[in-house]
């Protein structure tokens, strides 16, 4: 049986400046948006410590809230943020650049 011919063989890949500029602006928005969420998530903890006494005394399943959030919760937050940002950024590039159908077998993004 003859294997299917890959239509992309012999085709030179290229992006036009206009396409790339559109992707660049979208990616910049994504990066800044996710970075704002990242900074907000980190800053929220020390700010909460300063502005409210409740935070310092609060317990979460027997844990001091601040300790469990910084000791484990932040890593989950970073990971979730990373999965979301990588999936979105790769998806945007796939949709906005290259000929549709280039990716025969799309892989999971992250």
């Amino acid at each position: 049986m003859t294997p299917p011919v890959d239509e992309s063989i012999g085709r030179d890949e290229f992006d036009t400046p206009a396409e790339v500029d559109a992707v660049y602006r979208t990616q910049r928005r994504i990066a800044i948006g996710y970075f704002a969420v990242f900074l907000g998530g980190i800053l929220m903890i020390p700010v909460a410590t300063l502005v409210t006494d409740w935070w310092s005394g609060a317990q979460l399943s027997g844990w001091a809230t601040g300790f469990v959030i910084v000791g484990a919760g932040l890593y989950l937050f970073f990971f979730a943020l990373g999965v979301g940002a990588a999936t979105l950024a790769n998806g945007v590039e796939r949709r906005m650049l290259g000929t549709p159908g280039d990716d025969e077998s799309p892989e999971p993004d992250a």
């Binding site: 294997p3 890959d6 992309s8 063989i9 890949e13 290229f14 992006d15 036009t16 400046p17 396409e19 790339v20 500029d21 992707v23 660049y24 990616q27 910049r28 994504i30 990066a31 996710y34 970075f35 990242f38 980190i42 800053l43 020390p46 410590t49 300063l50 310092s56 399943s61 027997g62 844990w63 001091a64 601040g66 300790f67 910084v70 000791g71 484990a72 932040l74 890593y75 989950l76 970073f78 990971f79 943020l81 990373g82 999965v83 940002a85 990588a86 950024a89 790769n90 590039e93 650049l97 290259g98 280039d102 990716d103 025969e104 077998s105 993004d109 992250a110």
Partner: protein, 563 residues
Amino acid sequence: MTIDVAALIAVMGGLLLVSLALAVRLRRASSIDFYLAGQRIGVVTNALAICGDYFSAASFLGVAAGVYVSGLDGVWYAAGFAAGFVPVLLFVAAPLRRFGQFSLPDFLGRRLRSDRVRIVAVAVVQVITLSYLVPQAVASGITWKLLVGRGPLGLDPYATGVVIATTTIAGLVAFGGMRGTTWTQALQFVFLMAVLVWLAAAVLGNGFHYTDAVAELGREPLRNPVVVDGQWQLQPEASELQPQRAARFDQPGARYSLVGQMMLLITLMLGTAGLPHVMNRYFTSPTGRETRRTTVWVLGVAGVFYTLAVMLGTAARSVISQVTTVPPWLGELTVDGVLRIPEHALLVLGRLSAGSAGLTVIAIAALVAVISTMAGLLLAAAASWGHDVFAFVVNRRATQEQVVLAGRLAVVGTAAVAAAIALRLEPTSLSALFPSAVATMVTWAFAVAGSALTPVIILSIWWRGMTASGAIAGLVTGSAIAIGLFFVALDQPGWSIASLLLTPTPIAAPCAVLVAVVVSRRTPVPDDVTQLWVRLHGTASDRTAERLARLTIRGVDDRGSVR
């Protein structure tokens, strides 16, 4: 506290054998093979190798020590290390790889069409590399002196540790190149993680209860050993947030004020994106998309690593203080159940959990962490000297063999310089140096990287108007301010803001950005900036690489089906 020397020698010998085996395979390596492992490193392997690069002794012993000595503030130290990869993912990883170059100076040189930028960046990279490399060499000497306590042929034990670590790792990197180093770093990190998992399981198996321990440690004021009139004694730590109150283990303030905590976080966070040995790894990925996936893996693995390290620091604080019959070796290391040197936390925990075998395993892991990081740093130095200086300045017509040879010589030379500096820094009093000087020098590397390289790299990726003159001005400004503030802090330790100046990135990086932008606005951008932009933010190179990979796999499948 001494360990099995034979086990240490076996590990070092094993690493050398691995490097020699790889050397046979790579004896005719091209420069792409030697510096970039052929740009074919897979996502998981590269993520593990990045972790091997990144998690030095400062992460393996230092995070547990930080938690041990300052509770929640030490937990923030770990969070800062992990947080650094979020900006890398968002702003740097994919565009950096798509430019497809050998090193950070090479990226800047090509993006801004300037060899002057390349040379200035090489100088900054060398400052960062040596700032990171020397404390690793010092740590290997101290570890050997503390744990083995003797050297061959009348050699001082500290010198023995420095010489063995630098020689072993220089040999591994010079022969194995990026490919050999990648595999050994990935394996070394798997070993480090396995040791942490084993120790955590052993501690939990012995009845340690994490939640109860944190609650119990938080009930009492946090007290640490200090020398008063020549005598060790425990003193409560005052809270930096509320000076009238004593610090507690599960609350912030034992070490940092709010501003100090933020400055440390920003320094660690921005520093990661400018660390040459970590960022050079991104050039070994096949595509920009793969670098994003790699970074997500790093974030996941780092999270597990630091969660365990934090738990073990807490366990050490709780378990060591509860030892009812204190053996003589532990009595020498503690004051009323608290370790004098917090970096001993994991080592003591290992010995309490599994005797001298446990201690040996932790000590080997600490040395593995040191040499794994040293390997990445030596490769970064090799890429800077061999590719950026030799191939671009000294001999533009150099053959591939000459460029690889230059890299190998750079590895040996840099290792020799680091060893020589480390030997001159031999501490007269271990407690006086450990942990302050080692941790301080590593923080310096992060500070210079985050103050000089990171702002310029991010501007070069995200701002079309960046110019070579702007980049040079930014690099010089960021480095000068960071180094200047650092020396002021060391010179005036009594100043109330001295500890803040040891993490100068929040001051230096904005200055670097400001100067880079002002100078760039007055100087012309490269003529072909549009083409550079398309290469930086387009995905044509990714798609080509992915198509070639599909064709290769299909070719292999077809050959397999014919057979």
